[in-house]
């Protein structure tokens, strides 16, 4: 894969890749290069076509070069470095308290955590814009607030005077959707109500698919809706058939929506199929929370039976099972797993790199606070908490991606850049059909199908050939009387019948199958005369 990017802004400096390339550090770069290669190259050994082989070899070389250049960028040109928290000998990282962290970090970081006590309108849910710059906060009793996290300014705050269950940003911070008592609504930055999405019904959870511009919602009756927010069309409306569900997450890797149900099942959906792509029984009780790793191959689920499980969603197998309860789960950009239950937050980390998560940090709120939602702030080392008494933020070193890509999400975006990006992201809007379990399949060709069943003529020809060979069969001269012409003739006939048999059997079997096929539902089945009076009468 080449590195694909649109050049958007007129006044830009793109860091040049002309760096002194040293060959001796090639080994050091190797794993990084591999990350950018996105899959193995074509197997050129097998190819017979020399022309194609040459073309592919050139292409592969180009991919290798671009991956290497990307790895060089990572090595040399990244402005910021990742955060970390390391304990001394006997100390444990999970015993380090927030006040101690605060005293150690620099002054800019020490301004980030906060505790906002809003006891009247809670419990609160929160959502971050994709750049991490803005946060939207929704109180259950109708309080909506938009906050700029960089300056800690309150941009807009208003009261909708109605239950608000969930809130989510759309493609930028100018628009957000709130799931209210009867319908979800879309508001803009100034708090003006733009749309009321009546078709969704009483929505419990909302999610926004950024690349597809789809707003996904699950309502009280377990109906999943996808609405295109650019044109306003309802893309899909499916009944899950598994009852009320208030656990919903989007897999950022492939934009598949995961739902956790009260029967312990997790289902995965896409807008173009009415049945779930995946239905897996994860817990022996209701699923209380789930989260997807940004890499797309890990899923964490929590059940009411005090189990937290890590799943490999390439093989759909459980990797690890931990005991513990979580009301809410979230993966950070760097793969830390935050779980909140009661008034306590725990952050786990994959220290060994083998998906075996272990304790990394923990934080306790004031007793009695019920944490409803944990959410990592993108591109920052901050974990936002929405709880029954307001909202809080704590520092989690090493959680966020230190280097942002200006074309993807820019925390320092100016209004002009935002306008440009909006246009470009609209031009790059993906059709709903591109949502699938393995999105790397897009752009590849289907392997040729195995040869289909033989046609009728071919089959007849094969039978003829078999009969011919049976006729040709040599007749051994036997002892007296046993090679009589009548006997020979009979024997030959037997041979022919034997040769024909498998073909005729096959034909018979197929005919039988055709007969046994269920008649279609819409076809009228004629009942016997005696039973016709019991048949259900059609309304005319």
């Amino acid at each position: 894969m080449g590195l694909i990017s649109m050049q958007t802004n007129s006044e830009t400096i793109v860091p040049s890749l002309q760096l002194p390339l040293e060959d001796n550090n090639g080994n050091e770069l190797d794993p990084k290069v591999k990350k950018y290669l996105r899959g193995d190259g074509a197997n050129l050994e097998k190819l017979k076509d020399k022309k194609l082989k040459g073309q592919l070899a050139v292409r592969e070389q180009l991919y290798g070069k671009s991956a290497k250049a990307a790895a060089q960028v990572e090595k040399w040109l990244m402005p910021s470095e990742e955060g970390y928290l390391e304990a001394d000998d006997l100390e444990k990282t999970w015993n380090i308290r927030q006040d101690k962290i605060l005293s150690e970090v620099d002054i800019l970081s020490s301004r980030k955590p906060f505790d906002l006590v809003l006891p009247d309108l809670g419990p609160y849910t929160i959502d971050f814009a994709s750049s991490g710059r803005y946060m939207i906060v929704a109180g259950r009793k109708g309080h909506l607030a938009l906050i700029d996290m960089m300056t800690m300014d309150l941009i807009k705050e208003f009261q909708v005077k109605e239950t608000v269950r969930d809130v989510v940003f759309l493609h930028n911070e100018l628009f957000y959707a709130a799931a209210q008592k009867k319908y979800p609504y879309i508001y803009n930055r100034d708090g003006t109500e733009l749309h009321c999405l009546k078709e969704h019904g009483a929505v419990l959870k909302l999610q926004f698919l950024r690349n597809h511009f789809l707003l996904a919602s699950i309502n009280k009756f377990g109906q999943l809706h996808y609405q295109d927010v650019t044109m306003g069309g309802m893309v899909a409306n499916y009944r899950t058939g598994l009852g009320r569900c208030d656990v919903m997450q989007v897999n950022p890797f492939n934009a598949v929506v995961g739902l956790g149900h009260s029967c312990g099942k997790v289902t995965m959906w896409r807008p173009t199929s009415a049945a779930p792509l995946i239905k897996m029984l994860c817990h022996h009780g209701p699923v209380s929370a789930m989260a997807f790793h940004p890499g797309g191959h890990l899923m964490a689920t929590a059940g009411m039976e005090r189990k937290i499980k890590l799943w490999d969603i390439r093989k759909f197998e459980v990797l690890h099972t931990y005991s513990g309860h979580a009301k809410t789960l979230q993966f950070s950009q760097k793969g830390l797993l935050a779980m909140g239950s009661g008034s306590r937050v725990q952050i786990w980390k994959d220290t060994a790199g083998n998906q075996d998560y272990s304790r990394y940090m923990s934080h306790s709120m004031v007793k009695g606070y019920q944490i409803g939602e944990v959410n990592f702030q993108p591109y920052e080392d901050v974990l936002g908490l929405g709880h029954s008494q307001g909202i809080s933020a704590i520092l989690v070193p090493g959680s966020g991606e230190p280097n942002f890509d200006s074309w993807v999400a820019n925390p320092f975006e100016t209004p002009k850049q935002r306008r440009e990006k909006e246009i470009h992201s609209l031009l790059d809007k993906l059709p709903p059909e591109t949502i699938m379990l393995d999105p790397t399949q897009i752009g590849t060709l289907k392997p040729p199908r195995a040869k289909e069943q033989l046609t009728k003529q071919e089959r007849e020809a094969a039978m003829e050939a078999a009969i011919e060979s049976a006729k040709q069969g040599s007749n051994k001269k036997k002892t007296k009387g046993r090679s009589k012409p009548t006997r020979m003739q009979k024997k030959k006939q037997d041979e022919i019948v034997k040769a024909k048999r498998p073909f005729l059997d096959q034909q018979l079997r197929e005919e039988q199958q055709l007969l046994n096929k269920k008649p279609k539902l819409n076809e009228e089945v004629q009942l016997p005369l005696s039973l016709q009076r019991f048949a259900r009468k059609k309304a005319t």
């Binding site: 080449g2 050049q7 400096i13 996105r38 990572e74 955060g83 620099d106 950022p252 492939n254």
Partner: protein, 460 residues
Amino acid sequence: MRIRTISRQPEQFTRERSNDLRKVHRNYEPSLHPLANATGYSRALTAVKLDKIFARPFMHDLSGHMDSISCMTKNQNHLKDIFSGAMDGEIRHWDLASRKTVRQFHGHQGAVRGLTTSTDGRILVSCGTDCTVRLWSVPVAGGMELNDSFDHSSEPLAIYVGKNAFWAVDHQWDGRHFATAGAQVDIWDHNRSEPINSFEWGKDTVTSVRFNPGEPDLLATSSSDRSITLYDLRLSTPVRKLIMKRCRLVFLQTKTNSICWNPMEPMNFTAANEDCNCYSYDARKLNEAKCVHKDHVSAVMDIDYSPTGKEFVTGSYDRTVRIFRYNGGHSREIYHTKRMQRVFSVKFTCDGSYVVSGSDDTNLRLWKAKASEQMGVIIGRERRNHELKEALIKQYQHLPEVNRVIRHRHLPKPIYKARILRRIMLEAERRKDQNRRAHSAPGSMPVQPMRKKRIAAEIE
């Protein structure tokens, strides 16, 4: 305890003054760019559709001739010069930048059949059916932009009279000789009124002649007896001859109308054939064509290579101009207009970005070589964007949705119908072949590829 958190100084990421450039940071981490394949695919689809929208290849038509245009030549030394000769004996010198006639050359009594310029671009050689070869002096480029007055005719430098009508002329790429084709192939020097050498092989008229760009003494001719002949000026007899088979379909002749050498691979040449196809040959190995370029539905009249050697343009009797890749079996592009009639002459310009066609309707037409190319000065960002689009299209061109848009061309109805008809006839021929093969002794009728099918013999 060691600890660090991400902290960004806003000054490091924002510009100081409003006239500074904005700072841009890239991070190619795959998890920050999810759905890269899908995005690339949808961008490629958009790019290919945009290409289709911007495909406006027709630039201008150059009118002025009073009769149909029979031949053209470009001045190797001046990018924007082109000469055209018409059936009424008029030769015009065009300036492509201003799209005007700079000069007219009067003198030929019958049709002008061949035009060529000398290596230094100072002398124009023309020949025609009035049995004369005329040498004209071409003024140096500097003066002529100033004076674009219309009537600026001039007298020929020399007139050489032959015995028979001349059908084609071509100048050596590097040297003082030129060759004319007619009843025989004559080699001339600028300063001599008699040919310095004559070649003959068979009795039929030679209809086209082209010098090899790499080897100045080598030339190829085609004649009306369906043959292509190679000559070497250093030898007294022709070198090699290739004869095409008479085609079984009555309407198809297999005469070669025109030849063009590939300027980048000078051992290869492509022949425009009367049977609607073009055949690329390796001059060292004439028993098999390297590639057969099919798509025209009527005789291919003229052919010219782009200076890059990667593609060539053909003009056809079916009133279309097509552009082929040098190794592609089908055309990359088809150009046609309602008013353009049979195309007798086509040329790529010396920078490879335009195509000029001269047709029966007395007009020259100027086309872009890449239909959707952006004209004018392109700034770096635009160029990079075009490059990106091209790369994306190249990457996803094998997918059916993208390929469908790439391949689709609107065809005039007669050509569309003729193509279907042609396909039916070829299919019938193939079937007949198959039947013959099935009913003859095994091995007596081997299957021959199209590259060999039309070749009758190669004579040394």
